[in-house]
């Protein structure tokens, strides 16, 4: 189904949704929300594109291969951040103790490993939601 009104509205709205999602992911360590909510919002924008245009246009936004790389990459990034802490001489998933730069409390680039992990989890959640949606659509065919 293609409809002029939904198409133009979603074209207008999607960038704002995505920016909002990224904002929530990046501020995960400062404000309510965080990687999961932010990732879900970002993922929802991709679903919106697919719904209001059609599956092909949505797939172009985030192709299957890229989705699975991002999905695996997000989770691997989390694990590797933990391992980096060991390499730096801390314990698994150590943060300040392993020497991650803490920054100034309250500023965007702060909280060391938590900031990095939030970013990875956000990527993982967004790509998982998109992938799940595409799999469900394909299952119906």
């Amino acid at each position: 189904m293609e409809d002029q009104i939904t198409r133009i509205t979603s074209r207008l709205v999607v960038p704002f949704i995505q920016v909002y999602g990224i904002y929530i992911i990046l501020h995960g360590h400062l404000s309510p929300g965080g990687s999961f909510s932010g990732g879900a919002i970002f993922g929802a924008s991709l679903v919106l594109v697919a719904l209001s245009f059609n599956l092909e246009a949505g797939s172009k936004q985030i192709p299957h291969n890229a989705a699975s790389v991002l999905e695996s990459g997000g989770a691997l990034g989390y694990l590797i951040t933990g391992l980096v802490a060991i390499a730096l001489g801390g314990y698994y998933l150590s943060n300040k103790a392993a020497g991650f730069p803490m920054g100034e409390a309250g500023s965007l680039f702060s909280a060391g490993a938590i900031f990095i992990i939030t970013l990875f989890v956000g990527i993982k959640v967004a790509s998982t939601i998109a992938t799940l949606f595409y799999y469900i659509i394909e299952g119906e065919k």
Binding site: S68, E71, A75, L76, A97
Partner: protein, 492 residues
Amino acid sequence: MGFSEHFPALIVVVLFFTAFISPLLYRWARKLAAPAVIAALLAALAMVVVLLIQVQQFGIYYYHMGGWPPPWGIEFKADPLRLYILVVLISVSLWIFIYALRDLGHELKTRVIGWYYTLYSVLVGSMAGIALTNDLFNLFVLMEICAISACAIISIKEDRECLEASFKYLILSAMGTGCFLLGVVMLYMVTGYLNYSFLYQALVEAFDFYPLNIFTAAALFIVAFGTKAALFPLHVWLPDAHASAPSPSSAMLSGLVIKIYAFALFLMFYEVFPRVVLEAVPLSEIVLWLAALGAMFGSIYAMIQTDLKKMLAYSSIAQIAYIFMGIGLHHSLALVGGFYHIMVHAVTKAMLFMVAGVIIYSTGVRRIDQLTGIGKVLPVTMVAFTIGSASMVGIPGTGGLISKWYLALSALEIGRPIFVLVILASSLLNAIYYMPIVINAFMHQDEFKKEVKPVPGIMQLSMVVGMVFIIIFGFFSKPVVTLLEQAAALFF
């Protein structure tokens, strides 16, 4: 301790790492996907062995995630018992995986095999975590991961039966986790701790003020782990799930997954709830009698099955009951018996499901009455089945005897010979449904009529390895029993 101090975390991490990298490998470097999983399992096994040696030298070792000390941080504990469980867990899953390399191509579509590797590694990793963790909430999270991946390795076959069975499993196991979470909430409410060791201390005091909360938590834990480990009358999901899954999944689920939950219940009873709680209400007694009923009824249900895999699944209900009996009898010898049975049954039941898988692979037969004369066309397979059955029944020279022996000894030690009778009767029932298959396979005058595909070498080799280990467990039980006796001595 150097680098090896990180091993408790790395055991879990290396498996999860492989899990997430294998879809990528399967997409772009398909040849490397299976070796990567094998390498991860080998690495995990090596780490467990190193830890076991170190723990025996220097004593119990705790690992704090992120360097945060308990009660706030997540703590992993490496003690002889947990490491013993891990050795069994990882070596058996390595063995099943090697068998699965050939069998999966036969049972699954090629495009999902990469996902199967992911699910398999996640499953093993989460079970390793369940065994290692010393924190109730961490346990909850790992149980969820374990439950979802266990359901997924059933439903991955995508036929009607599998979907139905895994849906049933998913619902019941979600109820189990729900009960567990509620129980954790109850304990957290009265103590403010989630760490096992802190809870153990705090519950002694809290028990005077809030006995009802603690009893409720204990009851919820029995239901939660009983459902997940298929303790009789909560076993209803097991037969369908284990019978319809692809054979490697069945071997995994029946051999390891249900046992890890029995082990978790053991940890609750011996490391979380202090003695006063267990003496105030007969919790062990409840588990003990449910186990006794399970040992009988599991075998009785198994007798009336016509499908080979379904029979093996019901037999698991009877066999898991021995492990619960080991927990419920509350005696060090019973623990030795129960834990020895974890190892023996993991190997035996996994091998029997492999045998079932081989029979389905090469002949397509699932019904027990069509197996007459199959011993002449699939000799190695049916010899494996014979040895597996012998171990299930507990015939001398197989591992099954040792665990039943210790269970019976402890029942006599504490003056309750009725459980010796239960063990004996259940063994006889086992013989009633296992032995006719063996006799029909080898001694029936009819020829096997169906067409027979040759069995791949790696599947044969897997079964031979299983047979060898079952016999080793029967004759050389001393080292493991000594290890378990030392471990059990810590609790009495």
